[in-house]
Amino acid sequence: MRQRHRERVLEFLRTIQKPDRPLDAVAETDSLVESGLIDSLALLEIVTFLEAQYRIDFAAIGLEPEQLTSVSGILDLIEREAR
């Protein structure tokens, strides 16, 4: 299941990434912002994606920064909170 989530997340990240930062070069635990793959405010797009695709209610669960800043953090969040 995690692999399927991973594919969907990476597919989405490809739509918002900066063109000259290969997604493959970013390790799963790397910060998406600090690696230069996305800019900081693009986190809103990740939030919107997770709300729509996995019905995660961020207002209800609260959020720690680490949960959204790397692919592994996002996958952990999906596994824990997706409905």
């Binding site: 490809r14 063109p19 000259d20 900081s40 405010l41 986190l43 809103l44 959020l63 920064p65 959204l68």
Partner: protein, 503 residues
């Protein structure tokens, strides 16, 4: 805050400086020591009144000490975006002709290579012996600050403020807004922006209030914004709508009840976001502010009486006179009538650096042409209704499409090009690019992308690209950017990640 002959003096009543992320902080006596030591270093190195100094970093304690040290010697501070490309920096250096360039540990090594020979590079992190500079060399009419904005002619414009114009802005804000609500001010905005530096930071801090400064637009900070406000008992912060769109989704509201006032500016604030910020902050004192770098930033805002958030609502002026005039004949518009917005204020810039021609166009009879369209209601409150000039407002950063055009036009693969504003759910607007290439293959797109990367800093790079056969122009050669945008809207943009990634 300041009066009479003290107008140009700096370091009168600064508050504490705090970096919440690192825990570093300077009490006012430490600020005074740091400023004196840095001023003594500049003096030893030969900095003279009127000299200009690049500051390549910001949003940390040392930035403010360097700024005041430069001012104490009567020199001129030029804070710039640390992410400028080499080409952009070379262009600014031609205009500014700096004597010194101040860097920190995070500054790209390419900065020094982009500067003309003869510019002395100073490391802000170097430890300095204690020194005393007895008095300020600056006079009220002296140039104090140059901030760059995107120019409609494709060349960035350096907005020059004097000590007198800055002091006039701060005096007006203190008179209109008081200082009590700004006792513990948080700055999340870049300090090379007029909004972030002149108003969010220096207005409270040089008035003796405490300033908490963070790196700009850090996502982990925005997620923790409520906790940050509580932990440091923040009473005030300012930001831009794009930041609030994110913070309202991911940051839990503050619980301590310390937040007394919030400002939002630099881009249109939708009423829904405005109401969301009021709910999040737990105060009705969320003021939509209006101002431009040329006016010393905030010149009006929703600070008086009862108001209901509404799209375009700004409010009464703060130490300025607002004029709305008809485009056709320049006559004053009546209440409710939409026209061009002009601003009259003692805080107006002295002019654009080295561009008296542009200054004469912008300031007519002491009034500044904002390029905005709006109306004054029966109370004299300003309501904005749009922008007359070509401009892309990306989350508060103003980008002239002509600057993007100019960067692309030099590429040998480009036959014609048109940058335009496109709607963006995150930033409000973003940069779109329609381009006709001499060769439609992917290699030509990659070449143009690499060309643009060398010439435009990240924030100005087009987010979406469309290949077109030609850019439609009028008989006079003028491009209709709205028309180009509408033509592109029906077609998918280039898959730039695939094309560029295939190198």
């Amino acid at each position: 805050m300041r009066d009479g002959h003290d107008e140009a003096r700096v370091l009168l009543t600064v508050g504490r400086l705090v970096e919440p992320l690192t825990g570093r902080h300077w009490e006012p006596p430490a600020v005074a020591r740091e400023v004196s030591a840095r001023a003594a270093r500049f003096r030893r190195a030969g900095l003279r009144p009127g000299d200009r100094v690049f500051l390549h970093f910001g949003n940390r304690l040392e930035f403010f000490a360097e700024l005041l040290a430069i001012w104490r010697l009567g020199a001129v501070a030029v804070p710039v975006d640390g992410g400028l490309t080499r080409v952009e920096l070379e262009r600014l250096a031609e205009v500014v002709a700096p004597r010194f360039s101040v860097v920190d540990g995070a500054t790209d090594a390419a900065v020094a290579r982009a500067l003309p020979s003869g510019v002395a590079v100073v490391d802000a992190a170097e430890s300095l012996p204690a020194a005393e500079i007895a008095s300020d060399a600056a006079r009220p009419g002296d140039d104090a600050l140059v901030l760059f904005t995107s120019g409609s002619s494709g060349v960035p414009k350096g907005v020059v403020h004097t000590h007198a114009s800055l002091a006039a802005r701060w005096r007006a804000l203190e008179r209109e807004l008081g200082l009590a609500a700004y006792a513990r001010t948080l700055c999340l905005l870049p300090t090379h922006f007029g909004h972030g530096l002149i108003c969010n930071s220096l207005f409270p801090w040089l008035g003796g209030q405490d300033l908490f400064v963070t790196p700009p637009f850090r996502p982990d900070l925005l997620i923790r914004l409520g906790a940050l406000v509580d932990e440091h008992r923040i009473t005030f912060l300012s930001s831009v709508p794009a930041v609030w769109r994110l913070a309202l989704r991911v940051a839990r509201p503050p619980r301590g009840g310390t937040l007394r006032r919030v400002h939002c500016g630099s881009a249109p604030l939708p009423a829904t976001v405005w109401e969301g910020v009021q709910g999040w902050a737990g105060t009705r004192e969320v003021f939509n502010t209006y101002g431009l770098t040329e006016t010393g930033s905030w010149v009006a805002g929703t600070s008086a009486g009862e108001f209901t958030p509404a799209d375009g609502l700004i409010g009464p002026p703060w130490g300025a006179t607002l004029h709305v005039r008809r485009a056709a004949d320049g006559a004053a518009c009546g209440p409710g009538e939409v026209g061009r917005v002009w601003i009259e204020s003692p805080a107006l810039m002295r002019g654009y650096l080295g561009r008296d021609d542009l200054t004469r166009q912008a300031i007519v009879d002491g009034r500044f042409a904002t390029g905005d369209l709006g109306l004054l209601d029966e109370r004299g409150w300003l309501h904005l209704r749009g922008r007359e000039r070509d401009e892309i407002n990306k989350g508060g950063m103003k980008i002239a499409p002509a600057e993007v055009d100019a960067a692309a036009e030099g590429c040998p693969r480009v036959a014609d090009v048109c940058a335009f504003a496109m709607d963006d759910p995150l930033y409000g607007q973003n940069v779109g690019l329609a381009v006709a290439l001499t060769d439609r293959g992917d290699a030509a797109v990659r070449e143009l992308y690499a060309w643009m990367r060398e010439r435009l800093s990240e924030g100005k790079l087009p987010a979406r690209w469309w290949l077109v056969d030609a850019i439609p122009r009028s008989e006079r050669g003028k491009v209709n950017r709205d028309g180009v945008r509408e033509a592109c809207a029906d077609r998918p943009p280039l898959d730039l990640a695939r094309i560029v990634g295939e190198r």
